[in-house]
Structure formats: structure tokens, C-alpha cells
């Protein structure tokens, strides 16, 4: 049983490297300033290929969440029940994540703060309810 770790590509490697260094980053278009995640080679708004990795404030809010009561992968069986949450960063991009303190009560629109955690040697962008 192997843990389903991210498989960085040349495009996404800087994202994972930055997390390892304690920074959450997203892509911002040099032409139209649109901001996005997950990593892609062209701006999905204006289709330009010129963009920069930009550091996020680490602040965001809950859009929605689910609680798994069934493990679709062996590695998660012992964590049941566990949450997967959709967070929108203050800067706009959204990401799938886990809330580290779900007992505080996950709810839509609640503010959250970045809490980077180690998972099998990889830095993941998790969040705490604030």
C-alpha cells in the first residue's frame, strides 16, 4: 500500500518546492492579472503563456466540504471519518484541502488560515479554521 503522493511535473514542481519552503503560491497572468490554481501552462482567462508564481497570503474561506465515511484508497482507511474541503484563497484561486481542526465546526464561508503539514515527506497545504 503506497500513499497517493503528488507527482510533480516540470510545470507543477515550483508549487511543491515552494510549499516545502513554507510558502503557498499560485499563478498570476502578466497580461490580464487573472490568478489560478491548479498549475497550467496558459492563463485560462486570456490564454497568454506569460505568468508568474505569486505568494498567497494564506488566508481564505470555506466554499464547501465533505466527510468521507468510506475509504476509496487503503491509505485513508485508518483516517475515517476525514474531511476534504474546498477553500477559496483571498486572492481568488481555489484548492482542495483538509481542515486540520474540524472539531471547531466546518461551515461555508468560515475564514481559514494556511497550515502547511508534512505528509509522507511532502509538504501539503492544509488549513485551520480561525
Amino acid at each position: 500500500m503506497s500513499f497517493p503522493l503528488p507527482e510533480p511535473t516540470p510545470l507543477s514542481q515550483p508549487y511543491w518546492d515552494a510549499l516545502k519552503q513554507g510558502r503557498l503560491t499560485f499563478q498570476r497572468c502578466r497580461k490580464c492579472s487573472h490568478s489560478w490554481l491548479p498549475p497550467r501552462a496558459e492563463c485560462p482567462e486570456c490564454l497568454a503563456a506569460e505568468w508568474d508564481w505569486t505568494q498567497a497570503s494564506g488566508k481564505g474561506r470555506v466554499i464547501s466540504w465533505v466527510i468521507y465515511h468510506h475509504a476509496y484508497h487503503e491509505a485513508f482507511r485508518e483516517r475515517l471519518p476525514y474531511n476534504v474541503t474546498l477553500v477559496e484563497l483571498d486572492e481568488g484561486p481555489r484548492l482542495i484541502t483538509n481542515i486540520v481542526n474540524p472539531d471547531a465546526g466546518i461551515a461555508a464561508e468560515k475564514p481559514v488560515t494556511l497550515q502547511i503539514e508534512d505528509e509522507h515527506g511532502v509538504a501539503l497545504a492544509r488549513f485551520a479554521l480561525t
Binding site: 466554499i63 465533505v66 505528509e119
Partner: protein
């Protein structure tokens, strides 16, 4: 094009477990049954539109199937919009016939996730697997949770949909699951991915279905006994990834329905029956809203009191849908729409003259709408 094209025949295999059959064999059986139902010879067919089997992709599958039926279609191939494919292919068939490209089309699908692989539905979503983000169901759960948070929709209101559809299926001898459901039993059913309960989730089934599409004129020439008119159709697609949708609780089902209603010259109030793609109860709730049967966010209240059950104002999924008849993605809903318009459903709605059918794929990613009527 309103009323100019018809569904001339419908056919299907058994639903449930069909080990070892394979999708080609199941497709051929469904096509054979659809041709028999239309009362026409295979030689009349000059177009073959096939939904790609989601569970096990195969290159140029449309031609594999054509070969298995010794057909050389003028227009053919596979289309991939997930579950929305079927109605989209029916509309493409109408357009191709209208453009003089062909005359008689078979539209079909087969899949065997029950006894084959269902990996397509349970896999991780890319690198987000590290957060435990797995399965198609989870995307529906995420959408359902947002609907509940934003509009105060209650679990019991999703239960109303499950109960209505399951009880319709219990009455259908072809249904894979014939166990009726009560609201209490629904509430007791275990969470799979909260807020999704087991009974919010459709069946996993093997099976195939096919329909024959042609012009009303051609149907008359060929002596088709019970053609059912196509009054309107439409489509709409949104982002592949649920998290990237601008608004989680809205889909392009709205655009799809608007196109179809405009073509048919009808409005939701003119519809007698609806066959709504019920892979998950949240999909039904949002489709009813997006179609305009009620306002966005009011679906929960709207379905209360048996409104969508047999005998209600708008009976839905009268043969049991994906929750009870078969988990097959979509064509069973079209076939039941045809039976209702013919007057041959096991849960026949008296004097019904119009039926809207929805198909959708992915996680409310793709959508298509069909309006049938007299």
C-alpha cells in the same frame, strides 16, 4: 425541426449483473431489440451513434460495433460527454438527418461497471489524492453540501426524491432494484461521503440500450407502429473540475433546457412528466431548479409532499431511473419517456402529452435535454 423527427424504436438488455458479455455483445442485443420494436430491417439503418464505454475506453469503438452488426454507416462514431452523450447523440442524429447526411440512425450505449472495472468512478483527482480527494461521488457530495449551506436544503428533502424514484422502480419488473424506500429508511441509510447517504447514490449496473431515430415521414413510409415525436433538444457544458465552477450550485442544465424549451415552444408549466438524470439526488434537485420548475434554491421545498411521486404534480423517473431501474448512464430515461408518450409505462401517467428528459455526465459537467410529446 420541432416534431419533424421521431424515436421510432427502443430496446435494451437485462439490467444488473451480466458477467462475461462485454459491451459489444450487449450493444448488439439492444440494437436488435430496438430494430424489432421499430419494426424495421437493419438494412434501413445508415447511421450509428455510440456512447464510448466509460469504464473501459477503446479506440474507434463505433466502428468495432458497426462491424459486429455488418453495418457500414454513412455517419458514425463515438461521442464522449459521459451520461449526457445519449441525448446529445439523438440531437446530432436529428441534425445529420436534417442536413441530408443520413436517414435512419441508431443511438446506443453499453457498459459493464458492475462485473468489469469501476475504476473510472473511484479514482483520485490528480495530485489532490494526497488530501484523500477520491471518487465521482465526492464531487456530488461537495455540491450537495453547498446547496444545503446556501439554501438550507434538508436531508429529508433529498430523501423525498429517493423515495419517489425507488418506489417507481419497485413497480417495474425490469428494474435491477425493486425494494421500496421510506423516508425513515432513507434517513437511517449510512453516510458514504457525508452529506451523501447510500440511498442518494445510483446503482452500478451492466447493460445496454438503443433507440432508433428517423424523420416522421420516413417512419410513416417504413410502417413504424408507435413513433414518438421529438419536440426539442439542447445542451450545455461546464468545467471538468467541480472546484473550479464559478458557482457550485449552478450548472449549464439551465442553458440546455432553455434551448430545448425554446425549440419546443413550451415552458416548464406545459410539462406533464420528467425523467431527470438521478445519479445522485442532488443532481435531480439542481436540474429541477435549473430547468425552471422552481427557483434556484427552492428545490428542497418544491419536492416535498410527494410532488415528484406517481400521482403528484410532476412525476419523475417513472421506471425507477438510475436509483432503481439501472445505473446505466441515461438512455433508460429516454426509453421511459417514449413509453410514457406511447401509454405503455408500468407507472403510466394518465393523459400525459409532454415529457422532458435530462441526461448529464461527469459531476454535472455535461448536460443535454430532450422534450418528447404528442
Amino acid at each position: 425541426m420541432r416534431g419533424k423527427y421521431v424515436i421510432a424504436g427502443i430496446g435494451h438488455t437485462k439490467f444488473g449483473r451480466l458477467p462475461g458479455r462485454g459491451t459489444v455483445s450487449m450493444n448488439v442485443e439492444a440494437c436488435r431489440n430496438a430494430l424489432a420494436d421499430a419494426g424495421i430491417e437493419k438494412s434501413a439503418v445508415d447511421a450509428l451513434f455510440v456512447k464510448v464505454p466509460t469504464s473501459k475506453y477503446s479506440s474507434m469503438y463505433g466502428q468495432t460495433l458497426a462491424e459486429a452488426m455488418r453495418l457500414q454507416p454513412k455517419v458514425g462514431g463515438v461521442w464522449d460527454q459521459g451520461g449526457a452523450t445519449n441525448i446529445s447523440m439523438i440531437s446530432f442524429a436529428c441534425m445529420a438527418i436534417d442536413a441530408g447526411q443520413c436517414e435512419v440512425a441508431i443511438v446506443c450505449l453499453a457498459d459493464d461497471p458492475k462485473t468489469g472495472t469501476r475504476q473510472a468512478y473511484e479514482k483520485a483527482w490528480g495530485d489532490d489524492g494526497a488530501y484523500g480527494w477520491f471518487s465521482v461521488a465526492a464531487g456530488y457530495g461537495l455540491t450537495m453540501q453547498r446547496h444545503m449551506a446556501e439554501y438550507g436544503t434538508k436531508p429529508e428533502q433529498f430523501g423525498e426524491i429517493a423515495v419517489a424514484v425507488r418506489n417507481h422502480g419497485a413497480n417495474n419488473p425490469h428494474a435491477a432494484l425493486r425494494v421500496p424506500l421510506t423516508l425513515d429508511k432513507y434517513m437511517e441509510s449510512p453516510f458514504i461521503i457525508e452529506p451523501l447517504r447510500r440511498d442518494d447514490i445510483c446503482l452500478v449496473s451492466d447493460g445496454a440500450a438503443a433507440v432508433v431515430v428517423m424523420s416522421e415521414t420516413r417512419a410513416r413510409e417504413l410502417g413504424v407502429k408507435a413513433p414518438v415525436k421529438i419536440l426539442g433538444f439542447g445542451q450545455g457544458q461546464t468545467s471538468y473540475d467541480v472546484p473550479l465552477r464559478p458557482v457550485l450550485t449552478e450548472t449549464m442544465a439551465k442553458a440546455s433546457a432553455q434551448t430545448a424549451f425554446k425549440m419546443a415552444g413550451l415552458a416548464p408549466k406545459d410539462i406533464d412528466i420528467a425523467q431527470i438524470y438521478d445519479c445522485y439526488t442532488i443532481a435531480v434537485m439542481m436540474t429541477l431548479e435549473d430547468y425552471g420548475f422552481c427557483k434556484k434554491g427552492e428545490g428542497g421545498k418544491w419536492v416535498e409532499g410527494g410532488r415528484v411521486a406517481a400521482g403528484g404534480e410532476l412525476p419523475i423517473n417513472t421506471s425507477g431511473g438510475l436509483l432503481s431501474e439501472t445505473g446505466m448512464p441515461g438512455l433508460q430515461l429516454v426509453m421511459e419517456g417514449v413509453r410514457q408518450m406511447r401509454g405503455t409505462s408500468v407507472n403510466q401517467v394518465k393523459d400525459a402529452e409532454t415529457c422532458v428528459v435530462s441526461n448529464q455526465g461527469g459531476i454535472m459537467t455535461t448536460h443535454s435535454t430532450l422534450i418528447l410529446g404528442h
